[in-house]
């Protein structure tokens, strides 16, 4: 795979970008830790003070400007959240994309090194040189986890509908008259009671479908290059995760399910923007994973002709790699053919 050893400067740049990209995240996490320590020092529950209560007040504010329609408020809030966490999401997608780029080399490493320890070392080296953080896909998701939990708790409190919920809510609202005007919040939106689980099963099904689509978008193009075992695992995950979310939606307030549906749809949109590809819905809905959603042709791999250097070579992380020389002619031929077709039109 000597085709990846092309521009050493790009490796440095990728690493630099990775380092600089981590800085805001480090600052945010540092600030959160500092705030938690301060809250604990003054005897305040940091989880309530830093996550749930601000979230509740923001949601009530949005509800008020959305003409007391809490369903619309949740949708708007979700979109705002997606906007705020957009850098994280883009990084997640880019990280996924970069992981996909090095899949062929990964396969070669697995073939070449039978010793698990050595293989792991070489894999890490490959990641390092490609400027890839193997947890890059995982981290943004974990960062959003507190938001999901806080939202769940906030919804239970806000639209619980019981006097106990309202009493609890009274202790969390900031002293601003505007926030009290619309309380208690309207719980009904479309067919949903936002404070209760959806008894019609429609929302859980929607959550399942949108989670499945999102899941497919992030895994599809990598599975083509993965080995059968990985394909099988990914295929299983593609079903298991949506089913779990569907089941969870059956037990939580509908407002949270609404958040997930909108968030998933936004995720599909962001994926479309990042990958810049069209979605093949026919292939998307096929249970067997394939290089389905990419408009770009999967790079042909020829393991038998590929020469893996004994010392791992720098790899281009995020910039699409050109084909190998022997592929290039084929690639060029097809490009010329396409250009010719366009001209003929």
């Amino acid at each position: 795979m000597s085709q990846h050893i092309n521009l050493p400067g790009q490796i440095d740049r990728a690493a630099q970008i990775a380092r600089s990209g981590n800085m805001p995240l480090v600052v945010v996490i540092g600030a959160i830790i500092f705030a938690i320590i301060v809250a604990m020092a003054i005897g305040v529950n940091p989880w309530d003070a830093l996550f749930i209560n601000p979230l509740i007040n923001i949601l009530i504010f949005i509800n008020n400007i959305c003409f007391d329609n809490f369903g619309i408020a949740i949708i708007l809030f979700t979109l705002l959240m997606r906007l705020v966490t957009l850098p994280l999401t883009v990084r997640q997608f880019q990280s996924t994309k970069a992981m996909q780029e090095v899949q062929p080399q990964m396969q070669e490493l697995q073939k070449k090194y039978k010793d698990p320890k050595r293989r792991q070392e070489e894999t890490l080296k490959l990641y390092r040189e490609a400027g890839i953080n193997p947890l890059g896909c995982l981290f943004p998701m974990l960062i959003q986890l507190p938001i999901w939990f806080a939202l769940y708790r906030a919804l239970v409190i806000m639209v619980g509908g019981t006097p106990e919920s309202l009493l609890n809510l009274s202790q969390r609202i900031y002293p601003w008259s505007y926030l009290n005007e619309s309380l208690p919040l309207e719980q009904h939106f479309l067919w949903l009671n936002l404070g209760r689980a959806d008894a019609t099963f429609l929302l859980p099904i929607l959550v399942g479908i949108t989670t499945y689509v999102t899941q497919k978008l992030t895994t599809a193009s990598s599975t083509a290059a993965a080995n059968p075992q990985q394909q099988q695992m990914t295929s299983m995950m593609n079903w298991m995760v949506p089913l779990m979310f569907t089941w969870i939606t059956l037990t939580v307030p509908s407002g949270l399910g609404l958040y997930w549906v909108v968030s998933n749809i936004a995720s599909v949109g962001i994926s479309f923007l990042v990958y810049g590809r069209r979605i093949s819905w026919r292939q998307m809905l096929l249970p067997v994973p394939a290089a389905t959603v990419t408009g770009r042709r999967p790079r042909p791999t020829k393991p038998e002709t590929t020469k893996l250097p004994s010392e791992p070579q720098p790899v281009e992380a995020s910039i699409p790699t050109p084909p190998e020389p022997e592929e290039r002619s084929d690639y060029e031929r097809r490009r010329r053919r396409r250009r010719g077709k366009r001209k003929n039109r």
């Binding site: 896909c137 974990l142 006097p163 106990e164 009274s170 002293p175 895994t219 695992m233």
Partner: protein
Amino acid sequence: MKASSLGLLAVAAVLFLGTACATIATPKGWSGPLAVDGAVLISSKNNITAVSPDTFVRLWTFPDDKRFPEDEDIKLDGIYGTPVTAAGVVYFGAYNGDVYALDLEAGRPLWAQAFQTDGPVIGGVALGQDILYAASDDGILYAIDPESGVERDRFDAGESIWATPLATEGAVYVATMDGELYALDPATLDPLWSGPFQAGAGLVSTPLLAGDTILIGGMDRELHAINAASGREVWSFKADNWFWTQPLVADGVVYAGSLDGNVYALALSSGDPIWPEPFAAAKAVRAAPILVGGTLVVADGKGNIYGLDPATGALRWGSLETPISLGGDVLGHPALLGTEVLFTTQGGTLFRINPQDGSLQRVTLQT
């Protein structure tokens, strides 16, 4: 397995665990005790129990599916408003949306069937001249025949009603979660004022008539004093959180607890504070204060009780640092039994308090 898939699975697993730990809040009810001739009534989530006021022996429980199989289908889902009694009958509304009339002696339903509303009954019921008024979350005030349980009339307020209606000789007052207070003709339920009184947010507390003034608190964090005849506001007092308790009036002073944790003493005529500082309890105050033997007894939401000097607001017994605690949430109003104050914690545990020194006794119900 890809990290993103792993991540999603981890998120799903953690969410599953999280949601399993914290379920959707269910109503429990917080009605306070009621002491009447020959019985003390205690409410819990799914039943109401009458005990002897002397021995605290259980007299009856409703519903009681062990003794009465027909009670099996009755699920009250919580009682929030304090029941009322008249002529040996107990009336109360439940979160399941039904209003019940029980024989005080036997605890059995007197109506052929419970009166059904289209929403939870969160406020209590009020008895007028041969009419029972029940307000529901469906936004309707129902006038019910107390003997038969048949609807006589209704007033559609158009917004949820959580406050207990107030029935007086000349009017029935009902407040909505939209912040409107109506004065209605007790017989016809026609509005008496030219328009309802409008507060800044929902009116949740039980109104009180003191002379010609209606006192009611709301989610706008204000205690409103309203002229009962005209519906015009006389004064209002703003706290740092909602007023969700029934105020108490004694000797021209209004005592009102707030969810900001303070108990305020205000002049009935002007709304001016009487005490140098409001009394600051440890937690939000939802239970109404009660004045017994010259001591103002107050309980906060976490079940801490305090005895105050009604003139100054100073502590007579109890402590802010180590308060006397009932060990459970106290959200319902207290009752007076002889010279003792009765409180129930949410769930129905009964406590007897000596208002002179704050000594308390947990009552174990005898069967």
